[in-house]
Amino acid sequence: MTEKYNMPDERGHFGPYGGIFVAETLIPPIQELNAAYHQYLNDPEFIAELDADLKYYVGRPSPLYYAERWSRELGGAQIYLKREDLNHTGSHKINNTVGQALLAKRMGKTRIIAETGAGQHGVATATVAARLGLECVVYMGAVDVARQSLNVYRMKLLGAKVVAVESGSKTLKDALNEALRDWVTNVDNTFYIIGTVAGPHPYPAMVRDFQAIIGRESKQQCQEATGRLPDALVACVGGGSNAIGLFYPFIEDESVKMYGVEAAGDGIATGRHSAPLCAGRPGVLHGNRTYLMADDDGEIIETHSISAGLDYPGVGPEHAWLKDTGRATYVNITDTEALEGFYALTRMEGIIPALESSHAMAYTMKLAPTMSKDEIIIVNLSGRGDKDMQTMAKREGIEL
């Protein structure tokens, strides 16, 4: 693919995917957001403020770390970790919330809402809301509230109201439903900060653009460290924001392979997983057309993953497009394999990854040995594992 990549079109389509599929009340705020986004995207003052926030508040650039021991141990490609775990609040999510919060401020919105799965996006949203003095409400599935209680506490400390969503499967998709219901009720003063590259246009493109700094930095850092482009990129995919952030600046570099890693949960064959690209079908949910986990009647199926952040039945529409065009390859990793990735990185490099990122680590353990020693993989270490300590300790039968 050497031709210029310029997705999406102006109505937010990535081929047959994306678009705007929302109830009528949300059309005006989406049009308003789209106009503001395009205005400020090219506004030097806005860009300067965003860049300063990313540098001094988030702590960018994040390092591209050469995992020398782990590379040697796996005996194949040289592995570089993009250290998004070192960002303020502990994951890549803040890249996007800083950007959207600046937009909200310029649009005169006084109230911020967000959905969250693992709580990383909720924390990143509560953080920027606290800093800007904006009211903040975070919707989180009741199941996730229970398994990510540390992040719930962090959000509350930051002054956010956390609403446990009791409808449906009580996970991320239901949190998104509830956030949409809030937005439809409070459209005039409320800005909805979506945390992933899903939702109605312009969210998939906008969140990608805010996250693309991951890939831009990686490209430059890889050049500096090795004098060339990487051969492969690996990132976990739930909604897909950290993956698209890494992939996007490399899309036109056809020598760079891209691997998106979905959560296979108990295994694809069991049906208990969260891998719509690997085992789903196209459909419409949460404002866009994309691959979904749905049954023959079009009802959304409950998903499963050890990581709350990947426990989502849809995926960003751009990933659907990259899959269909063959530009990116989507693979899957089970809960058990993800845990192996978690322990490997922890013990081999002294870095405890988030369970979401552990899926990317686990796939890297499969991929690296198939590549030669002079090849390079960049893996997105999208978040740190602190939030998962309770889950892990519980699995090991330890009371904290």
Partner: protein, 270 residues
């Protein structure tokens, strides 16, 4: 002329307002719906909106969400909703039936298969909450070719341009969502509705039914008088929810409420 167009024409001639109940197909159980539909017709309703249960009803409040969950627990689906409509049509060829739901079940069936199945089931209109006209052209063209009206929503924040768009894309009637919020919310302001309806009327000649937040005969009468009809959903489903162990009682209470609304609406006749 479609059954819906004929119905609204007849209502306009006689100076009556349309009473449009909404119930979710298969709630609280599949065998409840067809007898309920016939009973509502006997109570004087003009059009029936039949909700297609969906796992993720993003525009609905808690009452209709739970109705969907109850129906889905009985394996209700778009296909089975169409079976219910077919059953109803066996003994009622007059009352227009409008399907109301979300896009994904229709996507899963395929637009053309759905349009054919809806036609066979005697469906008169299809209102897809998350399918705005920009994305809905393919589906609405297939529906219109089968004399099924694609019905679109308008909201309090819809611009003149949007109203014109719905006028061009839709037929049958326009469903005006009387408040910013989800179904069954409780803050409907009739003065606002009145102001908005003037803007809508200036840009479309389609009949306008008003819904969301209509709970009782008094509100129904007021909003129906502003528009051409009134949609009442959550208030009916609340009766089902309050009588889950006694569906017959739920049916009686729904009929009682609809009868009182019918009387209130007709008391406005000139």
């Amino acid at each position: 002329m479609s059954r819906l167009a004929a119905k609204f024409e007849e209502l306009a001639k006689t100076g009556r307002k349309a009473l449009i109940p909404f119930i979710t197909a298969g709630d609280p159980r599949p065998d409840f719906t067809v007898p309920m539909m016939h009973a509502m017709v006997n109570a004087g309703v003009d059009v029936i909106e039949l909700g297609v249960p969906f796992s993720d009803p993003m525009a609905d409040g808690p009452v209709i969400q739970r109705a969907s969950e109850r129906a889905l627990a009985h394996k209700m689906s778009l296909r089975r909703t169409l079976e219910i409509a077919t059953e109803f049509r066996k003994t009622d060829q007059e009352t227009p039936v409008v399907l109301m739901g979300y896009l994904n079940p229709i996507e899963a069936m395929g637009y053309e298969d759905f349009a054919n199945a809806a036609q066979r089931a005697g469906i008169d209109g299809v209102l897809t909450v998350d399918l705005p006209p920009e994305e809905g052209l393919e589906c609405s063209t297939l529906l219109k070719a089968r004399d099924i009206d694609p019905i679109f929503l308008l909201a309090p924040n819809s611009s003149d341009e949007r109203v014109k768009k719905m006028d061009a894309a839709g037929s049958g009637y326009i469903y005006y969502v009387s408040l910013k919020g989800v179904t069954g919310a409780g803050h409907l302001n009739t003065t606002d509705v009145e102001t908005k309806l003037q803007q809508i009327r200036a840009n479309t000649r389609l009949p306008v039914a008003i819904g969301f937040g209509v709970k009782d005969a008094q509100t129904a009468k007021t909003v129906a008088n502003i528009g051409d009809g009134v949609v009442i959903g959550s208030a009916l489903i609340s009766k089902i929810e309050a009588n889950l162990d006694d569906p017959e009682q739920a049916k009686n209470e729904i009929i009682e409420l609809l009868t009182s609304i019918r009387q209130a609406l007709d008391s406005y006749r000139a």
